[in-house]
Point group: C2
Chain length 228, copies 2
Amino acid sequence: MSDSFELKKIATIENAFTENFGIPRQSGIAESLLSRIIFEPEFRREEAVRELADFSHIWLIWKFTEAERDNWSPTVRPPRLGGNKRVGVFATRSPFRPNPIGLSCVKLVSIEYDKNKGPVLTVAGADLLNGTPIYDIKPYIPYADLKTDAKEGFTALEKRRCEVVCSKALLEVLPFSLQNALLEVLAEDPRPAYQSNPDRVYKMSFGGFRVSFKVEDTTLSVINIEKE
Amino acid sequence: MSDSFELKKIATIENAFTENFGIPRQSGIAESLLSRIIFEPEFRREEAVRELADFSHIWLIWKFTEAERDNWSPTVRPPRLGGNKRVGVFATRSPFRPNPIGLSCVKLVSIEYDKNKGPVLTVAGADLLNGTPIYDIKPYIPYADLKTDAKEGFTALEKRRCEVVCSKALLEVLPFSLQNALLEVLAEDPRPAYQSNPDRVYKMSFGGFRVSFKVEDTTLSVINIEKE
C-alpha cells in the first residue's frame, strides 16, 4: 500500500472570514457566524445528504490552505499561552502540523436545495477561512464523540476573553446577520499574542467590511467599521 | 490552488483487530481494547507529543484501507439499520465515502518512550483495523468538541446489543488483556445485518485467536476460542 493518501475536494466554505486575522481559535466560538457549504459539481446530489438534517452538529474535515510548509516542526507556540511556551504539535490543533488537516465541529442550521448548486448546507460556528476546501463531512454522533469526562490539557489556560465596546451606530454599518458574529469574534481578543499597546489600532477584514479597534487591558473598543 | 490534497502517513496502529469482521461500528465501544500507535521514523520525536498526556482523549484521522473504490455512491445502507434502509453518505460514518477518511476519538492511556520507536501511544477504544495508517493526531478539546446538546439522528436506532455467554475456561484461552475486550466486541453483535439463523457458526479473528460463536435472539454464545 502506498504511504500517501490523496484527497479530493468535495466542497468549499463561504463566509465572512476573508482573512486569517480574527478567525476564532476553534470552532463553536463565533456561534452567530453563518457559513455556507457549496459542494463541487460532482457531489451535488440531494441523496448524499439524506437524513443529515436529523443531526444537529457535523464534522468538517478541511485543509489549512495557508499553512503549507516544506518542513514540520515538532513543537508549536499556542498564541493563547502568550506565544512563548512550546507544546508538542500533536498536543495542539495548530495549522502547522505534518498534514495540515483541520477538524471542526459546527452546528447544522439548514440544508437547502438549489437548482444550480445542489444541496447547500448552512452551518454556524465555523472557524474556516472563506474559500477553504472541504474533504469530508460527517455527522457528530453523541455515543462516539461526546466525551463528558475529557480533560482539557493546556487549553484550560487559554481563556483570554475581553469586553467589547461598540456603539450601536457603528455596529449597524454591518448587515444584521454579521452584527452578533462580529461581537463574538472580537470578544475572543483576536490580537496576536504579547501585544499590549493600548494606542495601537488593529484592522480586521470581516465580511467585506474593515473593522478598526483598540484594546486596553481587557476592554476592546471598536473605533470604526466601514465598507472595504 | 490544486484541488487535491496529499497526506503523508505519520503513524500506524497495532491491535487485535486482524480482520474487519468484529470491529465495532464506532470508537469508544470496545473500551477495554488497547491499541498502540507507532510513529513513522520521521515523526519519532519526543517533543512532538509534549503536553499531550495532559489530555484524556485524542482524535485519530486515518484511512479506511479496505474501502477504496473508483466510484462513490451518494447513499449507503448502515448495517445497524437492518441493511435495507438507505441514508446519505454524508449522514453516516461509513467507510464508503468520496474520501475514505476515518475519524475516531480514543482514550489516551499512556505515552512511553522507546529508544527505537520513539514515543509510543497506548490508546483504548479504537475502531481501527490492525495496521491502519494514521495521518493526524489531535487533542480532544472539550470547549470545541463536547456538544452536550447534539442530536443523534438515525444513530438513535442503532442500539442492537446482545448478551454474551462464554465459559470462563474458554475465555481464559485468551491473554488477560484481550478478555474484556472480546466480550465488549461480541456484545455489539458483530454479525452482518439481517442474519438470523441460530445454527449458523460465525468465526472471527481476534488478536491471533479464532473465536467461534452462534447467536439466537439476543443471546450470543461463544462455542470455541483457539490459537490461529
